[in-house]
């Protein structure tokens, strides 16, 4: 997994609330058996006018040339609600978004972001509103997201701090894979099983 430290990049707005994972990556694209290549299908039903994805919807904000190559997405409340599909962060990451900023995220989506190297930043509603205004009125708007310091800085010098738990921070900074982290404690897992198998044998099944 790529590590995340300080990200400076072009910032795109998606001023909508309750954007669900069905919109982020519609279900017709879940049929792949690989992990990559979902970026072209990101926001498919909004981004394209046809099913094949050949005709761009010029009215959709991310299709505007001024947001081309954006690495940071600023969006409204409850982003990533709905289905737990991890294809949503894969698609966002593959498209180029490494950081999503919103007043709130759906639970599973929030965790799925971290597991895939995307930093999901919760800012206050007013701060997000402020960013929408700024992005709107400044072409080529760039934010700097500093994970070690836990601040989002605007070009005009405003700093918005955000919370991130130490575990997530550590994993993102080191690009650490979850399974590796857990397997450090393999012996503990085995001990736990030995204990439970005597107390509650019905929880285990025959091989």
């Amino acid at each position: 997994m790529e590590s995340f430290k300080i990200l400076k990049g072009k910032t795109a707005p998606l001023d909508m609330i309750d954007v669900d994972t069905d919109q982020i990556i519609p279900k017709q694209f879940l049929k792949k058996i690989e992990r990559t290549g979902f970026g072209v299908h990101l926001f498919h039903d909004w981004r394209y006018l046809d099913d094949e994805g050949d005709i761009l919807n010029q009215d959709f904000v991310l299709n505007s040339p001024r947001y081309k190559g954006a690495k940071i997405l600023v969006t409204g409340e409850n982003f990533g609600c709905g289905s737990s599909r991890e294809h949503a962060p894969w698609a966002l990451f593959d498209y180029g978004f490494k950081c999503i900023i919103s007043p709130s995220f759906a639970d599973i989506f929030f965790n799925n972001c971290r597991k895939n190297g995307i930093l999901a930043v919760v800012l206050k509603k007013e701060e997000v509103e402020y960013l929408f205004d700024e992005i709107e009125s400044n072409e080529g708007y760039q934010l700097t997201v500093d994970l070690p310091k836990q601040v989002v800085s605007t070009p005009n010098g405003k700093n918005f701090s955000f919370e991130v738990d130490s575990f997530a921070k550590n994993c993102l900074l080191k690009g650490l894979d979850d399974i590796g982290w857990t397997l450090q404690y393999k012996e503990k897992i085995k001990d736990f099983e030995k204990k439970v198998v005597t107390q509650k044998p019905w929880l285990f099944l025959e091989k």
């Binding site: 609330i17 309750d18 669900d20 069905d22 919109q23 519609p26 279900k27 017709q28 879940l30 049929k31 792949k32 058996i33 690989e34 992990r35 039903d45 099913d51 409204g76 409340e77 409850n78 609600c81 709905g82 289905s83 737990s84 599909r85 991890e86 294809h87 709130s104 759906a106 639970d107 599973i108 965790n111 799925n112 597991k115 895939n116 738990d165 130490s166 575990f167 550590n170 894979d177 979850d178 399974i179 982290w181 857990t182 397997l183 404690y185 393999k186 503990k188 897992i189 736990f192 099983e193 439970v196 509650k200 044998p201 019905w202 929880l203 285990f204 099944l205 025959e206 091989k207």
Partner: protein
């Protein structure tokens, strides 16, 4: 109850992160291929293949399941699941096996879902299994890989919410109506960060099927999981299920299961109360399950909404749904009816539909289909003669699977088509591009199929 299960599954706590042991893991064809791919790429093994069970359900056809799947990608996913189960020695209930069906129907039916256990699956409606007093939640594909490799998950401890549903349900008001009313009340993010425990007379009087419907849709309120304390009904349901404990082991388990329910002085981070008698049959009008009213209600009028964000989201929903403000719900005409999904495809659901439609005919303007939740339910319905009632009323009677709940197979609505659906999500495009979904109970779906529009099933 949540605390008891959590504490008894905690392997370690470190860096503000907890490793929680997972007792049962269910996988299906859509969210698992990349997890197995990940294992292969990193040279890791499945730690406990005997605790993972697989079934194809999301994108399989609901006719001719004995024939090869036409859609090449679905065929590839199902084939990949078969190969992964072979390679990693995981039990698969394959197509054509009576035990196969929707993963959240199959689990309880097979006795894989037992009280006091932790259950996960790469599908958000895993919350269903909480009906048995287990801690059950949906996970993403990386977590599927994590469970396969370690039989554990890294979790943050959620908060707890108690939802008390007091009094008894009125006649012909169903658990589906209760959960829709709850989501309407607390909103689609009202449960965020919580595990919800349901209690109260209405819950105690519900069948296991009804409890599963309730827990199933808990996720639509944004919660991690829903759960209900196990009782005699739970234990009765589990007796003699293939993978449930038997004999002496069952008796021992029973002693432990009886201690699971929350203590009288248990503390919850939040409590919500509801009177069952106040709940009428529900119908959603918008593009999330919280956009709901009852059968006597009307489509909302955005011009009455003060909050501008809320107003615009209602406007957007009405535009997508092709609905005018203030239209009575009863005047909304439908084109299609879908009875199925892990929310409402169990035998009790089918019986309630059969009872209502017996001797009636589906409206000539409506195409209606019924998709049972599993092969076992299909057979049981046929043994009871329900299929004949459905077919002679003009319903299409299909083979089990997720079907039009997410329309990944051929069961898709055409753009603009309006469907009364017993599934759990009415998001834009969920049942096909431009599809318009109204979430309802099986009984309401049956009534709407016959009338061609929504009606109060209690009066007809």
């Amino acid at each position: 109850m949540f605390e008891k299960i959590w504490d008894s599954h905690l392997v370690i706590e470190k860096d503000g992160n907890s490793i929680v042991y997972i007792d049962r893991h269910l996988v299906h064809e859509v969210t698992s291929p990349q997890a197995f791919e990940g294992l292969r790429l990193s040279g890791r093994k499945v730690m406990h293949p005997e605790l993972t069970f697989a079934v194809p359900d999301h994108n399989i056809p609901t006719i001719d399941q004995n024939k090869p799947i036409n859609d090449p990608i679905s065929a590839l996913q199902v084939e990949t699941l078969r190969k992964n189960c072979r390679d990693f020695e995981i039990t698969l209930f394959d197509l054509g096996d009576d035990r196969s069906g929707i993963v959240h129907v199959m689990g309880p039916e097979q006795g894989l879902t037992i009280p006091g256990s932790t259950i996960v699956c790469g599908d958000s409606h895993t919350a269903t299994h909480g009906a048995f007093g287990s801690l059950a939640f949906g996970i993403g594909t990386s977590e599927v890989e994590h469970v396969l490799a370690t039989q554990t998950l890294q979790q943050k401890k959620p908060k707890t919410m108690l939802i008390e549903v007091n009094g008894f349900l009125s006649h012909d008001v169903t658990p589906k109506d209760i959960i829709l009313a709850i989501i309407g009340k607390i909103g689609t993010s009202g449960g965020r960060g919580y595990v919800i425990e349901y209690s109260g007379e209405a819950i105690e009087s519900m069948s296991m099927e009804g409890r599963m419907t309730l827990c199933n849709m808990t996720i639509e309120a944004g919660a991690r999981a829903g759960m209900i304390a196990p009782d005699e009904k739970t234990f009765e349901y589990l007796k003699n299920r293939p993978f449930a404990p038997k004999g002496e082991s069952f008796r021992k388990a029973l002693i432990s299961w009886k201690q699971l329910s929350s203590d009288n002085d248990a503390k919850f981070d939040n409590t919500v109360k509801l009177n069952a008698v106040d709940v009428l049959p529900q119908v959603t009008w918008g593009t999330n399950p919280g956009m709901v009213t009852d059968i006597n209600g009307r489509v909302p009028d955005p011009s009455n909404i003060v909050n501008s964000i809320e107003r615009s989201s209602v406007e957007k929903a009405l535009k997508y749904m092709g609905l005018k403000p203030n239209v009575p719900i009863k005047e909304i005409k439908i084109d299609r009816v879908f009875i199925g999904s892990c929310t409402n495809s169990r035998i009790e659901d089918l019986r309630s539909v059969a009872e209502y439609v017996k001797g009636k005919r589906v409206s000539k303007d409506v195409l209606a289909m019924i998709v049972p939740g599993s092969g076992i339910i299909k057979r049981q319905a046929e043994d009871e003669g329900l299929d004949k009632i459905f077919i002679s009323a003009g319903f299409d009677w299909r083979q089990p699977g997720c079907s039009m709940c997410l329309a990944m197979n051929d069961d898709v609505l055409n753009p603009g088509e309006r469907c009364a659906s017993t599934s759990n999500r009415n998001f834009e495009g969920r049942q096909g591009k431009g599809s318009r979904t109204h979430l309802v109970s099986p009984l309401m779906a049956a009534a709407a199929a016959i009338a061609g529009h929504f009606v109060d099933p209690r009066l007809n």
